[in-house]
């Protein structure tokens, strides 16, 4: 046990808080995702399986929560790792902008990927 100087979180207050919020969403969402897909609903994964799950609003909510929270948590986590390796000033801002573009792009791509199941 020791006293130490805690500086303002390098990544910013909102990313810090959202990292915690998305962590809780992922703990619950991944427990549902992994348990229902691999323990309860055992069997070969297929296009029709996915369609069956995504016909229920519950799984649509879980899947989109996992997509959004997962991307935020993963990319902000990656950003926090990179901030330990010399991303300061303008480079830090550029990193944050690139991370957001990648994240929003991936969320759009993930939505497009699920679309045929959602609309069938």
């Amino acid at each position: 046990m020791r006293e130490e100087i805690i500086q303002e979180h390098e990544g910013g207050m909102w990313p810090w808080l959202l990292q915690r919020v998305t962590a809780v969403i992922l703990l619950v969402g991944l427990a549902v995702h992994l348990f229902t897909l691999h323990i309860v609903n055992l069997g070969s994964l297929s296009y029709d399986n996915v369609a069956g799950r995504l016909s229920s609003i519950g799984f649509i909510v879980v899947d989109f929560a996992l997509l959004g929270a997962g991307l935020f948590h993963a990319l902000n986590g990656l950003r926090m790792v990179l901030l330990d390796y010399g991303f300061t000033g303008g480079r830090k801002t550029a990193l944050t902008v690139v991370i957001w573009i990648v994240g929003l792009g991936a969320f759009a791509y993930g939505t497009w990927a699920l679309w045929p199941w959602l609309t069938s």
């Binding site: 046990m1 020791r2 006293e3 130490e4 100087i5 805690i6 500086q7 303002e8 915690r20 962590a23 809780v24 992922l26 703990l27 991944l30 992994l34 691999h38 323990i39 055992l42 070969s44 994964l45 297929s46 296009y47 029709d48 996915v50 997509l67 997962g70 991307l71 993963a74 990319l75 986590g77 990656l78 790792v81 991936a106 791509y109 993930g110 497009w112 990927a113 699920l114 679309w115 045929p116 199941w117």
Partner: protein, 128 residues
Amino acid sequence: MTEKNRETANVGAGLWKGTGMWAWLLHRISGLVLVVYLFAHIGVISQGQAQGQAAFDRLFRTLESPVFILLDVALVGAVLYHGFNGVRVLLMDVGVGIRGHKTVYYAVMGAGIVCLGLFAVTALAFIV
């Protein structure tokens, strides 16, 4: 830059030794593995939209080979480590288990190993 004194445990990269260091290092490594997996996962699932039902189902037959099942178990291990150690981090953020952080670490790791056992037994049915 605001600064304030706060009581902390030897956790994270703050002090480069002991259980806290390993917990932090493994959290970071498993996190990076999971970032790569998340994008691979989105890429695989998107093949339904990109290439259609037949190609999607063919891809999943490939992903059921023993090598990929073993990789799945390793993946679940990474998820469980990151998740259970993450619970410990969240508890410390609200001031729980700072003094006893090593005890909490071993407790959550025990819970993680039990869960990994459940998934490993399930995975075994696909290999043998």
